[in-house]
Structure formats: structure tokens, C-alpha cells
Amino acid sequence: MATREEIVDRCQALYDDLNFTAARNWKAAKEGRHVIGFMPMYVPREIIHAAGMMPLGILGGGDQLEVIQGDAYYQSYICRIPRSTIELLLTERLDFVDGMLFPSICDVIRNLSGMWKLLRPNVYSHYFDVPQNYLKDVGGEFYIHELNVLKEDLEKIGGVTISDDDLKNSIAVYNENRRLTRELYKFRSDRPWLAPSSEVYLINRAGMLIPVEEHNQLIKDYIAAAALEDRPKRDNSRVVISGSFCEQPPLNLIKSIEMSGCYVVDDDYMLVNRWFTKEVPTDCDPMQALSYTFLEASVKMPSCFEPDEDNKGLFLVDTVKENNAEGVIFAATSFCDPALLERPILQDVLNDAHIPHISFKYAENTGQMQPIREQAGTFADSIKLWS
């Protein structure tokens, strides 16, 4: 079995590789394979998998990509992920991708779907809408239709027919992936000194870049290897990170928060890996199962409407309680409408629950960590001293 260090090194290499070599190699290994890219927050990867294709998470260019052309497409007051994604496209790093899905996360990503159509008219690109109405016969029916549209589109691209059994099999594989991801998060929450946030992040991020079956094994191996180690336990404050669900923080920022005296015991990075809070049933119509599970068991996040004011923001209080956290760090991307518009409500809810919090903004290429380290460090100290 690989050591923890070897597993993390592999994930770091995947993270650093802006040419997506693993996905290219997967595609090249067998004729007729296709890769479908997707932006954050959620797409039904099960359908892509059932078509025999590989879903590839495109989460921007991070802090290692020099954005030159991408900046010419966006004003200064728009976040960085669309410009670095355009850079990836225009520098042919995504030339092997057979289609792109743009989930309904915000207006910027939504409009990027149209830009893709103009820039690459011959490549499939699709704005993937999810329901904001959670009644089965209303939002549920609409969503089943949207799922079927995606299925038919993928069938055309791949020249395949996706059967119900294919879908059920893929749902089972992703149920396992979500279960393992939750297990990984629980492992970190229980023993954060054994699973640093930067490592958990890399394991989670690898799930965007390799086939799901490989990722399932990777998570198992990491947990097993990490559990064997004896790493020093520190007197850190336990915090939850909120607001980083789309443009990703640079790895150094994640490390900096931890180095400043915080154990991150939950976060909202790459929610697609644990979008459903329960298993998708495999004993009924698969599209209906995906649709109804979306309505009933999606994680709460700012791009989704909360129909019940009494429940608004409580997911964060629950997360704090479930993980024995002592505070929340709102870490949102600059110019991120969903996170920044939602934040005042969440802060109110936390205040009512007497949960301390701080907030700062970042970009995926933020390089100066000292202010963040000072802010997070002061927060950690204040929790230890005063809470």
C-alpha cells in the first residue's frame, strides 16, 4: 500500500498539472473515449459516467497560471475563475475536452457558457440548470427533463445508448464516492492533526481529475495510511470555512489558515464530491432518483434558494455543532455574488447562535498570505482566550 506521503505527492502532481495529463491519458488509452468538463458547483456526473465518459472538474487556473489572454475578456470587477478558465481554453489546455457543462452557480459562470459557444462553436457546451423549486411535480419534473436532455446530448456525442442499468451502476459508484468523501471529512473532523486540511483538499481535488473508481480507492488508501501515522496534536482552534465553493483558494492559503492555529474541520470546497447528504436510490427510475434526491438531500449553499426563512443559514450552525467547531471563517472570492450577498444573513444567524466568525476575500492567485495568517491567527487566539 502507498504511504500517505506518496498518495499526497500524487495528488499534488495532479493538482499542479494544468495540462490535465491524467484525463488526456485516460482518453487516449481507448478509442472512442470522451471527456466532459464541468465548472463548480454541481453536475450529475453519474450521467457522464454512464455514457462511458469521464467528468473533468475545471476549477480555474489557480496561482500557477499566468493569465494573459483571459484578462482581455473580463473587466477588473469580475472574479478570476472565468478569466483563467478562458486562458486554459485559449492556450489549448482544454483541446481534448469534448464538451463543457456550466452549472447555474451565478451570472458569470452562466454567461461563460455563451462565451464558450462563441469561442468554440463546434464543441458541445451546455448551461446546466437545476431547479429552484423543490416540489416533486414542479421542480422535480422540470429537472428530470433537464437530466434527460443531458443524457440525450451525451448519447449523441458518444454515439452510445445509456440504459437505466448503466445509470444505476454509475449512481452506485458515485454513492460510494460521496460516502467515502464524507468518511474522509469525518476522519479529519475527528482527528484533524492526522489529516491536515491541505492534504484533504488535495485528495478531494484529485476527484475532479481522475476516474471516480480510482478516486474511491485513493480516498480509502489515504484514510488507511493517515490513520497509521502518529502526528503531533496541537492546541488549535476548530473552524469551519464557508464561501469557497467556486473559485478555489490557493493551496498556500489553506495551509496558512492551518499554520496560523486553526484546524479546519469542515469546508465547502468542491461540494460536488458530497452534494447529496444521503444515497441516491438505485432501486427505482434513475432519473427520478437523481431528481428527487437533488430536491430532498442537496447540501445548502448560496446558489440555491432556501424556501424556508426559518431554516436560512442553519446548515452552518448545524455544521459547527456536528464538528464541534468553535468558529467560522468566511473566505469568499472577490466579486463573488453568491458568497458575498449571502454573507450578511449567515453572519446574523451565527451571531444569534453566539458563534464567532471572521471574513476575508481572496482570489485563486492570491500570493500574499501574511495578512490572512495574521487575521486567522488572531481569530484562533481570540477563540482560545475568550470563547
Binding site: D107, M115, S303, F305
Partner: protein, 431 residues
């Protein structure tokens, strides 16, 4: 070279229709300010996806937070409100319409005309073409703790309005929106009343489209951006579906017919613009805090806007859509999906291209709004695409809707003057 500057006049010149429009908008603020006496229930909603014909079926008065922000911007009040909201923790990065509205609420909810804005009995969250709407009304609901009806309008990402999309919206109207309005208002829904309102809408829409398309004349009798803002007022807000709106657009049309007959240009705050030198298409909302200064930069140079996408934000009627009383709920659904920012970028680009060609415009000017990602994300690419397709030059300025901190008059003026020079050079090169 710039035309000689006229001194700003203190007496703003207005058409009869403009006075009528102002009286209509003011009357809604008066109605809102008087609900304590009248007992009317209050419905808040947005301009895109505005279901005024339906709201009227429940005898409710509509409040439009975007319009409040605009009116506060025009009256130079929005800046303080935005800072008030930022003081309460709202990010400097997000939409200033939202912050102007929240700031107004925090300062006592006195509306732009000085009358109180009543609390909502229902928030009609028509999620059409703008993600911020969703959060905006969650924020208001968080403070007011009132009933909220959510209407999710699917985005036309593939430039198609499918049967499934229409059915989805209709079902929401039937199962979510109408029952909530019945509950809050105590009035039973009457579909025949809705049909009557929709018939009025269609009549007004015919005249409205005629007015917009009158800019194909040379000289254009209207300014379809700065003047257009007045023209869209009634149909985008509390008056669509009313006899008043039908009457307003008939009056407006007669006025413009007369101007065409006389070969007159548009009316600006300083009188008729007599020398049409440049015909411009604009993309994006205007700046409201310095609107008169902004407009002056155009009419001083002889530039008239012949078509604008902003006047389509509450419906793209000029591409054929009309409310249809024979299919009332389906028609409302299709209306919402036809709103400009609910159209995908390739379609928006095609619309701009058609405006340049159909209105024989000299170029495209984008006023990119810091607050509005729904409009702004992708505009630079749209500009390049339109330039490529039409051979006409594009220009790009950046301002904000209602945040005075983001209007730099010297920069905007400098860029506009350069742009008009570029058009001159292109003309000379083509001659």
C-alpha cells in the same frame, strides 16, 4: 474634435409624454405611501419577469426596489444609502441596487419622492436573468419575515424556450405564486381579469415597439437609451396591463409621429437635438447618478442612441413577443424567458448585430456596469464579435448604476470623444 460646449440649462425640457410618465411613476409612489390609509396590500418585485398583470388581479400595489434605487440615484441620494449598507456588512463588491435598497431600508425606508415605502406583504421573487435577485429578496425576507413567492425562470442557455420550460413556470404560477397571492390578498384569482390585463399589455406593447423602431428614421426622432429610459418606465413597472399604459403609449406614439412628420430629432434636457452626426447602439444599463451629464456627452457631440439593449431588460418585444390573453399563464412564462438578460450571449450578440444593421448605426457603445454581472460578464467578447460581424467600431466605458463613486466623468467623456473621432476616421476611410 469636440463640438462647442453648451452651458447646462437649469430648465429641463420635456415632452408632454415625459410629464405624463413622471406623473404615473409618482402616482405609484403616492399609492405606496398611502397604504396605511387605503389598506392596500403591497407586493415587491423586479422589473425583469415582472408579473404586473397577475399582481393586479389581487388588487395589490407594486413596489419595485430597482426603480427606487434608480430614482434615488437620479436624485443623488443613492450614494449615502450604499455606504449605509456597507456599514452593515454588505460587501463593496456586490450590486449597488441591492445596497441602495438595503441602505434606504436601514435609514427608515423613505422613498425617493419623500414618501414612506411600506413593508411588503409579499415578495415576488421572479428569478429572471439575474442571479442577484435571488439573494436580494432572501436579504429582504430576512429582515421583513414576510411571505415570499419564488418563481424560477429557466435561463435560455441554448437559445430555446422548450415546452418543459414553459410548463415548469406555469406550474410554479399555479402551485406557488397564485395560491400565495390569494392567501396574502384575500382575493380569489380570476383568470378573465388576467386576460383583460394581458390584452391591455399587448396593445401597449404594439405602440411601445413602434416607438422604439421609430429610431430607424433619419434623423431619429427619439433617443433610445436616455430617452428610452422614460419610455420603458410604465411598461416595465406598475402600469403594464393598465388602460393608463395603453393611453400613455398612444400619446407617446402620436408625439413621435409628429416629430417624424416635422423631421425633428430627439428631445434632450436642453431641447431638440438638431444635428444628428452619430447613430449609436448601446449595450448595458446607464449610469443614473450622473445621467444628465452622461447624456450631455452624447448630444453635445450630435450622437443619438438609436437602439439599446437596456430597454429590452423588461422584455424583448421588438423581436415579436406579445402577451397573449388566449394563453394567459403560458404567455407570462414566455414573457419572463424573453427578457434580455435571460437570453444567452450568442443571442444577445445577434440582437446587437441586428440593431447595428437595421438601424444603420455607426457603432456599438458598451456601458459596462460594475454592479451588474448579468449584463457585464462577456460584454468585451460581445463587442469584438459585433465589430467583426458588422465592420462597425465598438467602444467600452465603465460606470455603475447608482454608485456615484464609479462615475468618472472625465474618463468617460475622454473615451466618448475618442470614439466619435474613430467613427469619423472610419467614415473618411470608407468614403
Amino acid at each position: 474634435m469636440s463640438a462647442p460646449q453648451r452651458k447646462p440649462s437649469t430648465d429641463v425640457q420635456k415632452d408632454a409624454s415625459m410629464a405624463k410618465q413622471k406623473a404615473m411613476i409618482d402616482s405609484n409612489f403616492e399609492r405606496l405611501g398611502n397604504v396605511r390609509n387605503s389598506g392596500e396590500k403591497v407586493s415587491y418585485t423586479f422589473v425583469p419577469g415582472n408579473l404586473n398583470e397577475l399582481v393586479m388581479c389581487f388588487d395589490m400595489v407594486g413596489n419595485y426596489p430597482e426603480i427606487n434605487a434608480i430614482q434615488n440615484g437620479l436624485r443623488k441620494k443613492s450614494g449615502g444609502m450604499i455606504m449605509e449598507a456597507e456599514k452593515w456588512g454588505h460587501s463593496e463588491d456586490v450590486c449597488t441596487y441591492v445596497k441602495s435598497d438595503i441602505g434606504m431600508m436601514r435609514k427608515g425606508n423613505i422613498g425617493p419622492t419623500g414618501q414612506p415605502i411600506p413593508e411588503p406583504d409579499i415578495l415576488m421573487l421572479s428569478y429572471t436573468g439575474c442571479y442577484t435577485f435571488l439573494k436580494w429578496f432572501e436579504l429582504l425576507r430576512h429582515d421583513y419575515k414576510c411571505e415570499t413567492a419564488m418563481l424560477h425562470v429557466p435561463y435560455t442557455g441554448d437559445n430555446k424556450i422548450t415546452k418543459s420550460m414553459v410548463q415548469y413556470v406555469v406550474k410554479q404560477l399555479k402551485e406557488e405564486v397564485i395560491p400565495k397571492y390569494e392567501k396574502v390578498s384575500g382575493v380569489k384569482f380570476d383568470i378573465d381579469r388576467l386576460r383583460e390585463n394581458l390584452a391591455n399589455s399587448a396593445r401597449a406593447e404594439d405602440d411601445f415597439v413602434w416607438v422604439l423602431q421609430s429610431a430607424k428614421n433619419k434623423p431619429s426622432p427619439i433617443d433610445a437609451y436616455f430617452g428610452g429610459i422614460y419610455y420603458i418606465g410604465p411598461i416595465f413597472t406598475a402600469f403594464r396591463g393598465t388602460e393608463l399604459a395603453v393611453d400613455y403609449y398612444q400619446t407617446l406614439r402620436s408625439e413621435i409621429e409628429e416629430r417624424i412628420r416635422k423631421g425633428q430629432g430627439p428631445i434632450t434636457p436642453e431641447g431638440e437635438m438638431k444635428n444628428e452626426k452619430y447613430r449609436i447602439v448601446t449595450e448595458g444599463p446607464p449610469n443614473y447618478t450622473s445621467m444628465r451629464d452622461f447624456w450631455k456627452m452624447f448630444y453635445d457631440e450630435g450622437a443619438v442612441v438609436v437602439a439599446s439593449t437596456y430597454t429590452k431588460v423588461g422584455g424583448t418585444y421588438d423581436f415579436g413577443f406579445r402577451h397573449d390573453p388566449s394563453r394567459p399563464l403560458e404567455s407570462l412564462a414566455e414573457y419572463c424567458m424573453h427578457c434580455y438578460t435571460n437570453r444567452n450571449l450568442p443571442e444577445r450578440t445577434r440582437m446587437l448585430e441586428s440593431y447595428i444593421n437595421d438601424y444603420e448605426a455607426d457603432g456599438l457603445l458598451i456601458n459596462s456596469i460594475k454592479s451588474c454581472n448579468s449584463f457585464a460578464a462577456g460584454e468585451l467578447m460581445m463587442m469584438r464579435e459585433v465589430e467583426k460581424r458588422t465592420g462597425k467600431p465598438g467602444a467600452f466605458v465603465e460606470t455603475d448604476l447608482v454608485d456615484p463613486r464609479y462615475f468618472s466623468a472625465a474618463n468617460v467623456k475622454n473615451r466618448l470623444e475618442s470614439y466619435f473621432q474613430m467613427i469619423d476616421q472610419k467614415r473618411r476611410a470608407g468614403a
